[in-house]
């Protein structure tokens, strides 16, 4: 997705003003706790995604970005609190400046702006997991399977796939319902035709035979086929011949009998039992208020998702991505799963009742056309009322909610008494019609038959289209289920293999045969890890905390690789390896460098040793590190940087703040002495709490440097290398002079004494001390490259005292003695 060139932070969290040059490379932020490292992590997350997870989500109480992301002294001017990042987008090969202010976190300013760049940032906003802390990473490992499934699915954005599944299913279900309705309509039309033509079945042979019989009566030639351009009434082609001039007595009798039979069937056969079953199924959902509310809630959520327009939440009009809104709605609907199952059962039970009502409605329409010619307005109104009641009842059942209305319909279907009374009257009126002549009867027969044949043709075409759609929608849905299940299984297999491989590389020394199993099942994701060949157990069962930390990191990296594919280009790892021991941290550094060469990692740590490993394994370059030494609420973090700390001390002393300058000198020397000790492989008295004072470090470092020069000089002497001996002697002398000048022994501070003796000096005296110690410290470095002089190699037998550029390179190897 992106890589960061520079990051500028202003009045944000604990930071007043800070610019870091990351140069698209790995970058490490090191410093003791409370020096502002997390502010950098928050700033990166904020500018890339518009959020700060530390201030949001579960357990964060009343914290918010708007109120708490600005520096505490800038709370009232949130527009001044901003983060700016110069970002390179590999996929577009573009560099853009992104900026967000605390005042408007969701407003992303881009320079230059373009839709392509915005699309990349939208993707970043959807992936806040690019910045994770140890606590967030370890949750993938140490959590129960149900929660892990949710976390992993959320990380992998699998809810989008679930949304697709439910939408395809909804479309397939709707298409099947439409096809069913169309099929029923076709059945009604076919029944109408069969009754009107008085045939056993609507086959081409039967239709032709019956029509040709009537055509012969009116003197028309027989039809040979029922092609689309053929009409049963061909030859009766006059304007008035298009409609029957009077009621087709035979068809009317048949239609009326069918209508009466349909309405009567409501009290006969299996229908009463079906009706009772439907009513019970619906009433189950109304047993108590909470169930009813759940039904209403589920319906509301379903509608909310359907009304989502791709930008705004349809309920509160706030901007929401599809992923956000589906996550919210799906999580809520998941809780209502039982209710949803009951609802589906009830809707299935209601379906045949509704179909019966629709059939009766169709009959009411047919009967109405006869009544119009035979009866008065009261009877017509009675039929119309019955038809409307049927339609309303069917619509209520289709709508399902509100439940009380559905139950009321099922408890009492529209009364057919008035309709049946009218039906009797029509029957009587039809019976009273004079019998038509054979020719008139044949003519009416052909006209009615043709009208109903055409209606059947249309209904047939509609049903076929609907069936075709239903088939396709169902097939596509089935393919989706199969393909997505298979693809997800493969994803889990790949993640599992990738995770185990990464973990093995870190722990090759003792877990070279490590294996892991990710076992997805409905709503759960089991995670078993091999424990020294003794079987598979949950990660928290037997593995140490350090091993769990590295498991968390490996699982996160494997998941991100699969989540973003080639788009995984940037990740912030916020103190994620707290419990991993030194040896394994080195392996982690090597792993990140070797396995993820194209990814820009920003790593924070409070542990200098971890920083050293990052440096020695070349995970981060020297220029890719920043070392925070202190933090104050007024100034924010202060960075260890070449030179500036000495100027800062002098400035403090010149401002008559000798105590402040003295404290800074002491902290600086502690920091630098630690670096000297590490570079020179100094043996330091062990401290169980890992804390070392200046006296613990500087003296041994000085002693070691003297000893190393001496060893190097003796080695050069053994080779009779007089030039080198001279150079070493000069270095030794310069170093000793600097030590003497600094009067180190005089200022030797007893760790048990709280008071810093420098603090009681006069300004001029203390400025001399600063100069002396600065000079001393420069003698631990090469005057050409400025790098620390160090013993090489860093472990095992000492071979050289050297610097980075090679100007200082003194061998410890002595010439073997002649035998």
């Amino acid at each position: 997705m992106i890589k960061i060139d520079t990051l500028t932070i202003s009045e944000f969290r604990g930071i007043r003003d800070l610019t870091l040059s990351l140069n698209r490379k790995n970058f490490a932020v090191c410093g003791p706790n409370g020096t502002g490292k997390s502010g950098v992590v928050d700033a990166l997350e904020f500018v890339l995604t518009g959020t700060i997870s530390r201030l949001m989500g579960k357990g964060r109480g009343d914290l918010s970005i708007k109120d708490h992301a600005a520096h505490v002294d800038c709370q009232k001017s949130p527009e001044k609190a901003f983060v700016e990042a110069v970002v390179w987008i590999p996929s577009l090969n573009k560099t853009v400046k992104a900026r967000r202010t605390v005042k408007s976190p969701s407003v992303l300013e881009l320079t230059p702006d373009s839709s392509g760049v915005r699309a990349v940032f939208r993707q970043l906003e959807a992936h806040p997991e690019i910045a994770l802390s140890r606590r967030e990473i370890i949750r993938f490992v140490l959590t129960e399977p149900g929660q892990r499934a949710k976390d992993v699915q959320a990380l992998l954005k699998l809810d989008q796939l679930e949304t697709m599944r439910s939408r395809l299913q909804k479309i397939a279900n709707a298409a099947e319902n439409t096809a069913k309705t169309a099929k029923n309509a076709r059945g009604t039309m076919r029944a109408d035709l069969v009754r009107a033509m008085d045939i056993a079945e609507a086959t081409e042979t039967n239709i032709l035979e019956a029509a040709n019989k009537r055509r012969a009566i009116v003197g028309l030639a027989p039809l040979l086929s029922l092609a689309t351009d053929v009409s049963l009434r061909d030859g009766l082609a006059t304007v008035e011949g298009a409609q029957p001039s009077r009621i087709n007595k035979a068809a009317a009798k048949s239609d009326i009998a069918a209508a009466a039979s349909s309405v009567n069937s409501r009290v006969l056969g299996t229908f009463p039992a079906r009706l009772a079953e439907a009513r019970s199924a619906v009433e189950l959902l109304q047993v108590d208020e909470s169930m009813l509310n759940a039904v209403l809630g589920d319906d509301f959520l379903k509608t909310a998702l359907e009304l989502y327009d791709g930008e705004l939440c349809p309920v509160c009009d706030t901007p929401k991505s599809l992923q956000e809104i589906t996550t919210i709605v799906s999580a809520k609907r998941k809780k209502l799963e039982d209710v949803r199952a009951l609802r589906e059962k009830a809707e299935t039970a209601i379906s045949p009742v509704r179909e019966t009502l629709d059939e009766d409605y169709a009959f009411a329409r047919t009967v109405y056309s006869y009544a119009k010619q035979l009866l008065g307005t009261d009877e017509l109104q009675a039929i119309a009322d019955f038809g409307k009641a049927l339609k309303d009842a069917s619509d209520t059942l289709r709508g399902f909610l509100p439940l009380d209305k559905t139950i009321a319909v099922l408890a009492e279907l529209p009364s057919a008494d008035a309709f049946m009374g009218v039906l009797k009257k029509i029957e009587t009126a039809v019976e009273a019609l004079p019998e038509p002549s054979d020719q008139d009867a044949a003519r009416d027969y052909l006209l009615t038959a043709q009208l109903r044949l055409e209606a059947l043709g249309k209904a047939h075409a509609t049903a076929r289209t609907a069936e075709d759609r239903a088939t396709k929608a169902r097939r596509v849905f089935d393919i989706y289920k199969q393909a997505s299940n298979a693809a997800l299984e493969k994803v889990y297999d790949d993640v599992q293999a990738n995770f185990a491989n990464l973990y093995r590389r870190i722990n090759a020394d003792d877990e070279g045969a490590f294996e892991a199993r990710l076992t997805p099942s409905y709503g759960k994701l089991g995670f078993g890890v091999d424990f020294y060949g003794r079987g598979f157990f949950p990660p928290g069962a037997y593995h140490s905390e350090g091993h769990q930390d590295s498991m968390g990191l490996c699982l996160y990296l494997a998941l991100m690789r699969h989540l973003l594919g080639g788009g995984f280009t940037f990740a912030v790892l916020d103190d994620v390896l707290m419990s991993v021991d030194a040896g394994h941290r080195r392996e982690v550094s090597k792993l990140l460098r070797a396995e993820f060469p194209d990814i820009q990692f920003v790593l924070t740590t409070h542990d200098k040793a971890w920083l050293k490993f990052m440096s020695t394994t070349e995970l981060v370059k020297k220029e890719g590190t920043v070392h925070f030494r202190k933090w104050t609420v007024d100034d924010g973090p202060t960075i260890w940087a070449k030179g500036d700390v000495w100027d800062e001390m002098r400035n403090l002393a010149n401002d008559d703040d000798v105590p402040g300058a003295a404290a800074l000198l002491r902290r600086s020397l502690e920091h630098l002495s630690a670096e000297f000790c590490e570079a020179l492989r100094v043996k330091v008295e062990f401290s169980v709490d890992g804390h070392y004072d200046l006296g613990d470090l500087l003296d041994p470092a000085i002693g070691q440097m003297k000893s190393l020069y001496k060893d190097a000089r003796l080695a050069a002497t053994s080779w009779q290398d007089t030039d080198r001996v001279a150079v070493i002697e000069a270095s030794e002398k310069a170093f000793s002079d600097a030590v003497n000048e600094a009067k180190v022994e005089q200022w030797q501070i007893n760790p048990s004494i709280h008071h810093n003796e420098w603090a009681s000096l006069q300004k001029s005296e203390f400025l001399t001390v600063i100069d002396a110690f600065e000079t001393l410290c420069t003698h631990f470095k090469c005057d050409a490259c400025g790098d620390l002089i160090e013993v090489s190699p860093s472990r095992g037998k000492r071979e050289y005292l050297q610097c980075l550029c090679g100007k200082v390179k003194f061998s410890f190897m002595k010439k073997p003695m002649d035998k």
Binding site: M164, R475, L563
Partner: protein
Amino acid sequence: MTELDKPDIIESNDLSVVDRVLTEFINAVAAEDGYLEISARLKDGILEKRDFSEAALERALFGVEQ
């Protein structure tokens, strides 16, 4: 089947999990006899236009003329 009729199989390297799953799905639809057009419309709608709405899926399944 002519060259033009052959399904436009999408390579799934370097895609996100969701896109990989959707790609597998679209390729499987394309392999179904008579479903080439649906597959092409699904590819255009969900993979290229990123439109996962119900209306877009219906258009993909049934064509724009519905």
